[in-house]
């Protein structure tokens, strides 16, 4: 593969993978879990 295309593809995939990892730590981390729990509590109270 041409070096320029390889470098561009590598940069793109690395950026996407890093963003996904950051989002995952927020969603599955303590802060995201607390947010989900409070949302679940609110919906069960409404029922």
């Amino acid at each position: 593969m041409d070096e320029h295309i390889a470098a561009a593809l590598s940069t793109l995939i690395t950026t996407i993978a890093t963003a996904i990892l950051m989002a995952a730590t927020y969603y599955w981390g303590p802060r995201g879990k607390a947010r989900r729990d409070s949302r679940d509590e609110e919906s069960s109270e409404e029922e």
Partner: protein, 135 residues
């Protein structure tokens, strides 16, 4: 032992250097970043003189600054940014090697080290007992 000598799962318990928490994985990755920065600045690494090498050197520089800065400033956030960027640096290196010279040993080493870096990032970021001033 003061509370501040331990911030998260990545710190060695009861061990501090200059009164600062010590993260062995982060220390090892900082050494890897130094190697990647030097070889890519002088274009002697696996990535040659391609601009991917410059990206790796810049990412590695950000990671090294964050890792050392996080240790010096006792900042858990900064240390986590350092681990995240260390993983990104290694993934970038592995991908470029894969696209240009697959199969290659340096590619597998890069991915393996990236798993260590991002694994350490996940451990520290998602540690329910992590401590950061102001939180």
């Amino acid at each position: 032992m003061s509370v501040r000598s331990h911030m998260s799962a990545g710190d060695l318990f009861h061990i501090s250097i200059l009164g600062r928490p010590f993260k062995p994985v982060a220390f090892g990755l900082a050494l890897v970043m130094v190697i990647l920065i030097v070889v890519n600045i002088f274009d002697t690494g696996r990535l040659g003189d391609s601009w991917a090498g410059d990206v790796v050197a810049i990412l590695g520089g950000i990671s090294l600054l964050a890792l050392v800065g996080g240790w010096w400033a006792k900042s858990q956030h900064m240390a986590e940014v350092g681990l995240l960027f260390a993983g990104s640096t290694l993934v970038m290196r592995g991908l470029f090697t894969m696209f240009t010279a697959w199969p290659d040993q340096s590619e597998w080493f890069s991915y393996s080290l990236a798993v260590i870096a991002w694994g350490a990032y996940l451990l520290e970021r998602m540690d329910p007992h992590r401590m950061e001033p102001g939180e």
